[in-house]
Assembly symmetry: C2
Homo-oligomer: 199 residues x 2
């Protein structure tokens, strides 16, 4: 890359990084072009040099936010040996996650609700992120089953849905109640639940 | 009430009813005054005659949407005799609820995410709705405990959080996946879970 291309790349990344908390907090419609300009310190033309439109920037911002949050949720996973240990770590990481890794909380929840009826590009990104997250958990469960660690009588897909749904719902409750109580209660429940899946 | 007051009242209710699906689908920032005018068939002044501002209309629309959804969720509850039967009905009502009772899905989830950083009036309404819903479920569990139907070793508040969180999270997943699979999976799990709480 030429020096100019490198600079362009880093400006692009900086715009994404600075836009992500805005979109994550205020949603797509609630994030104005002028707020994006203030956050990035750029004129409209400066932003449009890197993104064809607001939609493209919102999609890149979602990917950035999701990557940040995922990294925190998966932290330490490769060092765990068994399926149970991995599932417990995933739950613990989620429950104890430093709030505000990307300001505004879980980008999946935000984007799912925000883009429901609206932006199809954003919805597709969020859906892909959810599918990846679900696959990751389901694979751990299936591996646990084939290793004889987890019961054969469970459906990996269903267990995954229960874990993801209760964690995300707890985030919603915690957000309204401005408290981590719901997330911690759900974490305790899921820990017990996951232990009950042992063969 | 005079005839004029009655007519004013019914216009007010009509505006609320017609605005509720808009706010529920598009959020507070995403619902423009012009969309509200189109939906109600009124000029701006006609709306402002009944509501001091958009915020007041959004709050009334939330209350309407929540009441509609709650009625459906609590349907048949008084005819159930025991705590277990009541909890199973609540779960079934939630899972099987006709989608689009108020277009846009669960107003609690929508408003929690939408008003997170934004409108404090709306957030307060959503929080109150959540508190009422949680109390209703917790009371059923506590009654079940004092009747000896449910185990003494459970924490009614925690069980309530698990139920509400997993249902709401399943709504979020279902919305992204445009499918009722997640809600049905969570329903099956919760049914088993609630049965396991028997004394």
């Amino acid at each position: 890359m030429t020096r100019k291309a490198v600079k362009g790349q880093s400006t692009r990344e900086r715009i994404i990084q600075q836009s992500a908390p805005l979109f994550n907090q205020h949603g797509y419609a609630g994030t104005s072009m002028s707020a994006l300009m203030t956050a990035s310190g750029l004129e409209k033309g400066g932003i449009y040099r890197h993104f064809p439109n607001k939609q493209a920037l919102a999609a890149a911002a979602f990917d950035f936010a999701w990557k940040t949050v995922s990294t925190s949720r998966l932290h330490g996973l490769d060092e765990c040996t068994g399926a149970l240990e991995k599932l417990l770590l995933l739950i613990r990481n989620f429950v104890e996650m430093t709030p505000g890794t990307v300001q505004g909380g879980c980008p999946l929840l935000n984007t799912a609700v925000d883009s429901d009826d609206g932006d199809p590009v954003l919805r597709a990104r969020a859906r892909k992120a959810l599918t990846q997250w679900r696959s990751r958990i389901a694979q751990i469960i299936q591996k646990g089953q084939s290793d004889g660690e987890l019961s054969q009588n469970i459906d990996a897909r269903e267990v995954t849905v229960v874990i993801v749904a209760s964690l995300e719902g707890a985030v919603m409750i915690g957000r309204l109640e401005k408290s981590r109580d719901a997330l911690q209660a759900v974490g305790r429940h899921l820990e017990q639940y996951v232990r009950s899946l042992q063969a």
